[in-house]
Amino acid sequence: MGTHNTAWQPRAGTGLPPSLSRKWKSHLWGYFFILPNLLLIILFFLYPLFEAFRLSFTDASIGPSSYIGLDNYVRLFGDETFLRSLKNTLLFAVIIVPVIIVVSFSLAALMQNIGNGAKSLFRILFYVPTICTPVVLTMVWSWMYNTNTGLLNYLTGLIGFQPIEWLGSPSTAIAAMCVVVISWSIGQPLILYLSSMDAIPKEYYEAAQIDGARSFQRFRHITLPMVAHTSLFVIITTTISVFQIFVVIKLLTAGGPFYSTETLVYTIYRTAFGSTQFGLAAAQSIVLFLIIMVVSIVQLRFFKADH
């Protein structure tokens, strides 16, 4: 395939002043190309981040604020609500991420060796919920879980069960929430897995078959390793997005019952707009950011080490 890692530089003798070495000319072009994006990132990500960081050391609300040092952060460590939200968020991540991986991977595996038309169809069907407005979809799910007129209780009623208060007890509420999130999150990983499975050359399988490997062994020793990098990508991006689920929680359970589904983002939202304590909310969001970073880095190291 040739080399991929030498720097791309303009050739010699392009008529520019000889004092500018070829290397530096190339560098300048490099800076030029990244400039628009970099500028935007500095203005609209870094600057607000810095502001948020600064805010977290104040008691900012509406109106004048004053610096209070690390007070906000210290408070977080003793804050019952915050710690509970943290625990809930981690719980969601620990449940949802593996399930999404396993389910989307399994579906992709099942979709090997079916006709192209069927493959396309299923691919679209699984992906479409990902692109719909969460607001309206949550409305429908809310109805499905409704104790009195909901679809689920209607179905369970048909086979003789009493109505269950799906969103009424912490364990079922958490499970219900996970189901909703999973249902509209498997589309993207599914497509990724399908693509990477498609990319595995058939010869590998044929060779293994000739060597006498059974289908399960072929699966374990060829398929799995080849899609490992996809898995890594999916794990990291899914974790990041699970840490940020918000609309579903707000509309389905409002963080209940009894705080069991309240996540960090929901707490931040409440602190910022309910209590209008922007300084504290900024501190909370910085902590959330740090957690996401740490988790992502850990995942990177852990899974890379596996190879």
Binding site: I41, L43, F45, C132, S196, H229
Partner: protein, 271 residues
């Protein structure tokens, strides 16, 4: 073998039903009269077909304007995101200028930033520039789409270096190399990125809520949301209609760019 096949299809079909059912309910619900929406036993298919909700959506509200706002801002944003991401992604992949690792790491780090961190400072910033409630103020902050840079860079890394050497021997300058050579080779990734970023912007509810103010400036999801809850007496039919309308352009966009989307993701996520 046949049993396995049947099992396979059963699992796939059941899974698809579970996932698509809320969508199905939303679409069929938009054509049902309000009281039938939550009836027990549920109406699997509308018994009384009505277009009332759609009429209400479009006649009594500037829904067309909303749709236009969403589409317009989406397309303009996507154009610039593609442009800037392609440029930056190419440079990070192939130009080893001093600091390129650090800067790229910076880009990755911003991908992990939850939007809540930047929301209020960003709002204050845009407000101070006097750009609240304008297309400019809405779009520009969205253009720094770090994921785009990431995706393109992954893609560009697979372009063999010989191609560049061949081109520069032929006398091509930097810009020409980029436009004539690199861009055509990354079209699948650009297609994928187009879809990702379009969706991201379409559904970025909080930013829309905060920046766009007048009724005529609202995007479709925002406009639909504003119709839904009024006085706690929710107009469910309208909500279903609104949700359907908000989803349809996205679905079309996806179907259009599907092929490149898939190829793009495939090659872009290889490491």
């Amino acid at each position: 073998m046949d049993v396995v096949r049947i099992l396979k299809y059963t699992v796939l079909i059941l899974g698809a039903i579970l996932v698509v059912f809320p969508l199905y309910w939303m679409i069929t619900g938009s054509f049902k009269p309000a009281l039938s929406l939550w009836s027990v036993p549920p109406e699997w298919f509308p018994e009384q077909f009505t277009r009332k909700h759609y009429r209400e959506l479009f006649d009594q509200n500037p829904a067309w304007r909303w749709a236009w706002n969403s589409v317009f801002t989406g397309i303009v944003s996507v154009f610039f995101i593609l442009l800037f991401s392609a440029m930056a992604g190419y440079a990070y992949a192939k130009k080893k200028f001093p600091g390129h690792t650090l800067l790229f790491f910076l880009v990755i780090a911003t991908m992990m930033m939850p939007s809540q961190v930047t929301l209020i400072p960003l709002y204050q910033f845009v407000s101070r520039l006097g750009l609240l409630d304008t297309y400019t103020g809405f779009i520009v902050p969205l253009l720094a789409f770090p994921f785009g840079v990431f995706l393109i860079r992954q893609f560009v890394r697979y372009i063999p270096d010989e191609i560049h050497q061949a081109a520069s021997i032929d006398g091509a300058g930097e810009l020409q190399i980029f436009v004539r050579m690199v861009v055509p080779l990354i079209l699948p990734a650009l297609g994928a990125l187009a879809i990702f970023s379009f969706m991201h912007i379409w559904n970025d509810f909080i930013w829309q809520l905060v920046v766009l103010q007048r009724g005529t400036m609202k995007t479709l999801p925002l406009g639909v949301a504003s119709l839904i809850e009024q006085d706690f007496s929710i107009n469910y039919g309208l909500a279903m209609a609104g949700g359907t309308i908000a989803a349809v352009p996205l679905i079309l966009f996806f179907l259009l760019f599907q092929k490149s989307f898939i190829r793009g993701i495939a090659l872009g996520t290889e490491k």
